[in-house]
Symmetry: C2
Subunit: 270 residues, 2 copies
């Protein structure tokens, strides 16, 4: 959990971030004891720092005494490029896609070995998915992940396939050679497909968002019920949206490069 600056005896700011990093999509609420354990801090230290964080509204406390991420961090986070620039530029195009399909629309960037979900649109009748804003999912078992990985630098791809590839369903591609072939196919045909590789009953199609140079700026994908899947039919709409986003990102003058952060390998402590 804690990064290399998050151990006891390290800097105060390191301990603060060890506490904050104790929260993740699977752990959005924590008791003080859980917080201290996950941050590897003595309870007294955690208690003192958590009080300061609560005062700053970086954390807030439930009526039940559990802690959650507070409003200040949401406000600050909304200023990050991935939100204020990338997501904001993409959103109208994602809405068009949603209207055309009524399915789950995903926007993701590659961050290390993860597909990080930056936006998700879904309607009342879309198939439920495990992705949420801020979720990290594997690159080999998701549509947006495959689209991102297929267009990553060769050394990223090589390091990725050399890892132990987690099997999520019996259809997940975990064999190195097969994944490499799948990624080459993805590049050749210009879009990625998954068929129940992350969740049984769901399949997806995704395309990269072209960047001026180097890796894609991100990827967009549609996740549908396997039963009602005619995925290649969705590709022209997906491509139009990806091209529109890429064009708007080029026109945007607010500093260089979009939200994607290509640190490699994964950042320590996550």
């Amino acid at each position: 959990m804690a990064g290399n600056t998050g151990k006891p005896g390290q800097s105060v700011s390191g301990r603060v971030f060890a506490l904050l990093r104790a929260f993740d999509p699977a752990h959005p609420r924590l008791s003080l004891t859980e917080l201290a354990q996950r941050a590897e801090l003595p309870l007294a230290t955690a208690h003192r720092l958590v009080g300061q964080l609560e005062q700053q509204r970086a954390l807030e406390r439930d009526e039940d005494g559990y802690y959650r991420i507070g409003l200040l961090l949401w406000e600050l986070g909304s200023l990050a490029r991935v939100s204020s620039r990338f997501r904001e530029v993409a959103l109208p195009f994602l809405q068009d896609l949603y209207e055309a399909t009524r399915e789950n629309i995903h926007l993701a960037v590659r961050d290390g070995f993860d597909a990080l979900y930056v936006e998700k649109l879904s309607g009342h009748r879309s198939v439920p998915t495990i992705s949420r804003l801020g979720t990290r999912l594997p690159l080999h078992s998701t549509g947006v992940g495959k689209a991102l990985l297929a267009h990553a630098e060769p050394e990223v791809i090589q390091s990725y396939v050399e890892r132990n590839l987690v099997r999520h369903t019996r259809y997940t591609i975990t064999e190195r050679g097969r994944l490499l072939r799948e990624l080459r196919t993805t590049v050749t045909r210009g879009y990625a497909l998954t068929n129940e590789e992350m969740t049984l009953g769901s399949c997806s199609v995704a395309v990269p968002i072209p960047a001026e140079a180097g890796e894609p700026a991100g990827a967009i994908g549609v996740v549908v019920h396997s039963a009602r899947a005619d995925l290649p039919k969705l590709v022209p709409d997906l491509r139009a949206a990806a091209d529109g986003i890429a064009r708007r990102l080029r026109e945007d003058t607010d500093g260089p490069a979009p939200g994607a952060v290509h640190d490699f390998p994964r950042r320590p402590g996550r």
Copy 2:
């Protein structure tokens, strides 16, 4: 800028948050010098802490050497209730509204004396607005703001109208008695209207999202070009969306109360 714990000589976590709070929607990128000034910290202190924040990915540095809020804070912020619960529950209803209107759709909560914008949907052809995710706008000059203020506790309303009410256009209601009458009308008819009170050429209609008890959980509004305004026509769709969101929030078992944080008065330092 800096809260009461952000002054030099105060706790390290206070200084960390003084640096982070230097960023806001009007200042999404800052040089090190600007950061130190806005946080009221000596340059050397700022430099050392900013290095730690960059290492944690709480801040990131532009190719131009400017600092921005980093990916970690976006990820953490997405776990805040206002995003993971309130916004996520509301989004499908906001999309319905967008499709029905093709205009700007806003979701906001009251935080102190501000309307805090939690979501904004807008299409390629919607009228441009100054609101963005995480923006704070006044309660007396915005549609969602009036809807929130009109249904706030009497002492909140009283304290609000006793302040100096900023005039944004020649149509902004800045006279106390007139604003109080406007708020009573808003409660009586069940929706709020603005007519070029925030931005010339734009008008809006908004309704509160009912809560089980006390203040509304938030408000949703539509902002349109004044020229094409038939705002009361939009009220039935707005109300259906607000009721749908309220129902889903009640069903949601993930802890109590939605994202709205009703600290009062405004939190120090912002």
